[in-house]
């Protein structure tokens, strides 16, 4: 278990960059790659990187904690979901790092508002009109190619004054199982549509063997193909969805994480020699309840997990000022309590990735935001 004290010590020992800013603005075009992966829908960090050593965990989670036995033990406290096979290899190779119990400044539980705060980097929904990635771009010297979003339109995080672009994967987005389930609920009380929809879903379940979800591996490969180009973009954003696991969480997350793992592997393989220069930051709008709900899932919560993946990451560690899961330790008696501010993590990671003082990133990109010190020592210089 990483205690608060141990975390602080760790941060201090590796946080030299914080006090000795080397470069304010990178002089030349960077060869670093930075990818932000958004998990829309509130990914359950407690399920992805589970605090297996904590007895409360199994008690709170009940049956959905069952995978813990097959999970990859990361250290004496945390274990990685078994579907994340390639990610586990990266962890072992020192290319994956997990920061736990992280949250934005947002403390309510609306997806839209939460995602707005996550993407704008503000303190409250709709307080800022542009995205933190865009403001980060403005700190960098002019690049050969604008930051790119692998999405049909430019997401909020990339929007703003700096030039950005987007590219939609060729395959049209298909409604995934999650959306189909939501439509089912939507029609539940409609005498005309309910029976029709039930019939359609019955046919569909007969017709398709596999979950028709996003092809995340293809998305990773596509992103890598842009980022690996000499004159290509250095900053990219990937959108993923379907993380809102109110029901049947075990099966749904296993499937989703398998695809997510394939996406990360595709990024690594596609970037080749540039992987060593790459930082992938994965974050979600908020976490999920510490306890399982009545339908084999979890509900909207607060703190969650940040994943840092890539050859540039000083990986092989889980970092957390771990609050614990005892009833009194939970936020509002239900959620993992946030003990680290997401803006402080991003400021540290982005600053170190692009050799910009993390304090400056905190100031310029997050308007000093949470006021927390940037978390440094996470990325190789």
């Amino acid at each position: 278990m990483i205690t608060r004290r141990r975390f602080l010590a760790l941060a201090a020992s590796s946080g030299g960059a914080l006090f000795l800013p080397k470069v304010t603005f990178a002089a030349a075009e960077t060869d670093r790659r930075f990818v932000f992966v958004i998990q829309r829908g509130a990914a359950d960090g407690l399920h992805v990187v589970a605090p297996y050593a904590e007895p409360e965990y199994a008690k709170l989670r009940g049956p959905i904690a069952s995978e813990i036995s097959q999970a990859t033990k990361l250290d004496g406290s945390f274990a990685l979901h078994p579907a994340l096979v390639e990610t586990a290899k990266m962890y072992k190779a020192g290319e994956a790092l997990f920061v736990h119990a992280v949250a934005t400044a947002y403390r309510d539980r609306s997806h839209f508002d939460g995602q707005n705060v996550l993407e704008t980097g503000g303190r409250a929904p709709y307080e800022l009109k542009d995205g933190w990635m865009n403001r980060l771009t403005a700190l960098l010297p002019k690049q050969k190619a604008a930051p790119i979003a692998l999405a049909p339109t430019v997401p909020m995080a990339l929007r703003g004054l700096a030039e950005t672009t987007s590219y939609a994967p060729s395959a049209q987005p298909e409604p995934n199982a999650d959306l189909l389930a939501r439509v089912g609920l939507l029609y539940q009380r409609d005498p005309l549509l309910h029976p029709l929809w039930s019939a359609a879903m019955e046919t569909r379940s007969m017709a398709t063997k596999n979950e028709r979800g996003q092809d995340l591996a293809a998305l990773g490969k596509l992103a890598a193909s842009f980022l690996a180009r000499a004159n290509g973009p250095r900053i990219a954003m990937i959108e993923t969805g379907g993380w809102d696991t109110h029901t049947h969480q075990t099966a749904r997350l296993a499937l989703l994480l398998k695809g997510f793992d394939a996406m990360l592997a595709a990024l690594r393989d596609g970037l080749g020699q540039f992987w060593a220069k790459t930082t992938v930051l994965v974050a979600t709008e908020f976490g999920r309840t510490a306890a399982e709900n009545g339908s084999g899932g979890t509900d909207h919560g607060t703190a969650s997990l940040v994943m840092l993946i890539g050859g540039a990451v000083k990986g092989g560690r889980v970092i957390a000022d771990w609050p614990g899961l005892s009833q009194s330790a939970l936020y509002e008696n239900r959620d993992l309590k946030p003990t680290m501010a997401l803006d402080a993590v991003i400021a540290g990671v982005a600053g170190e990735t692009f050799s910009i003082a993390p304090d400056l990133v905190m100031r310029a990109v997050f308007k000093d935001g949470s006021g927390a010190r940037p978390v440094t020592g996470l990325i190789r210089s």
């Binding site: 430019v154 987005p173 439509v183 539940q188």
Partner: protein, 375 residues
């Protein structure tokens, strides 16, 4: 050309200041349907609506009917352009030359005018009435096609009356004698068809069904029918009766939207002014209602039972997902719902939109919600 015409129709539907008139254009174009699944009809798909329907929706039914039946799109679609009277000069000549094939008559247009455009099916006319009407219609043709020997008799593609194709003699249709000569003969029949009570009832029923529900109340149909008879087919008079009637204003959903209606309302809902960047032709085919291609002169059905089907719902969800991904950055689905719905959404719809895990999902759910599928 077809694609351009479809996109123009959609763009107009999205931006028009007169949506009621636009709805009427679509209504009448469907009432007098030509279908682009017939290859020779494809080039007329857009022009038929713009030239024969659009200019006449605020006039008299007879003028609309005449413009429709004289349009090359209709004359080709229902095989009228090459229909030749058996005793016409042209047929006589062919016989005297011992031509291998003596050209003949085609009843297609005559039948559909009676069955679909005016009187309505099983309203009392007989096969002999159809045949006699078909004889009266012979000679209604198009310049430049259908009869190479006569290719120079009119501007290519424009209506032309060819006396040499016309069946001579008087006709008796539904007990009425038509002694007129030439083109005037079929015009006289059309005029009487407009006056027939069956036509008034047929048009009244279709209008009522479109605006007041699949099974319109008899009272509304009768009111419209009487207005049609009394005004001798003055269409604005009918529209006024519709607007002044309580039935179309009933405070509940009266219709399940057709794919076209749903697609247009969805595109309007997300604020699109043009569909240039959307594969509209594909989209409407996928939804089950390819534009100007109902596959039959009867047009698309105007009943929920034809459109509310299991697979059709899945397709709407698929299209909604795509539209929502394009538009999610511009709309908060919760705000849009209050803007687009007449009243407060049902608890289920409210919960679905509010609980969506992204704007795109919320928007897709809004577009496929029970409320948005109906009007």
């Amino acid at each position: 050309m077809y694609r351009t015409a479809v996109n123009a129709r959609i763009a107009h539907a999205l931006t028009t200041d007169t949506p009621f008139a636009e709805r009427l254009v679509h209504f009448w174009a469907n009432h007098f349907a030509i279908s682009a699944d017939k290859v020779t009809t494809v080039p007329f798909a857009g022009s038929f609506e713009n030239e024969a329907i659009r200019p006449h929706i605020m006039g008299n039914f007879y003028d609309l009917l005449l413009a429709v039946e004289r349009h090359p799109g209709m004359l080709i679609y229902l095989d009228q352009a090459s229909s030749i009277g058996p005793q016409s000069a042209m047929a006589q000549r062919a016989r005297s030359r011992n031509a291998p094939r003596v050209p003949g008559m085609n009843e297609n247009l005559a039948r559909e005018i009676m069955e679909l455009h005016t009187l309505g099916v099983r309203s009392g006319y007989t096969q002999s009435d159809v045949t006699e009407f078909a004889r009266a219609l012979t000679g209604w043709s198009i310049g430049g096609v259908a009869a190479p020997a006569l290719a120079q008799d009119g501007p290519p593609g424009a209506f032309v009356f060819r006396p040499a194709m016309h069946e001579p003699g008087e006709r008796i249709i539904m007990g009425r004698r038509y002694g007129q000569m030439g083109e005037e003969q079929a015009r006289a029949v059309l005029r009487d068809l407009v006056k027939a009570p069956a036509t008034a009832n047929h048009i009244a029923t279709k209008l009522a069904r479109h605006f007041a529900g699949d099974d319109p109340l008899a009272a509304l149909v009768e009111r419209l029918s009487a207005a049609f008879r009394d005004s001798q087919g003055d269409l604005p008079t009918l529209y006024r009766v519709l607007i002044d009637s309580p039935e179309p204003w009933a405070p509940r959903f009266l219709k399940f939207k057709t794919p076209w209606e749903w697609a247009i309302s969805a595109l309007r809902g997300i604020g699109l002014k043009s569909a240039d960047r959307i594969p509209t032709v594909q989209m409407l085919s996928q939804l089950g209602q390819p534009v100007w291609e109902p596959g039959s002169p009867a047009g698309w059905a105007d009943m929920a039972a034809s459109w509310a089907a299991p697979d059709a719902l899945v397709r709407r969800v698929e299209v909604a997902t795509r539209l929502a991904t394009v538009a999610a950055d511009r709309h908060d689905p919760r705000e849009l719902a209050t803007k687009l719905f007449a009243g407060p959404p049902s608890p289920n719809t409210h919960a679905a939109i509010d609980g969506a895990d992204s704007r795109a999902i919320g928007l897709a759910l809004l577009l496929v919600s029970p409320e948005f599928q109906r009007r």
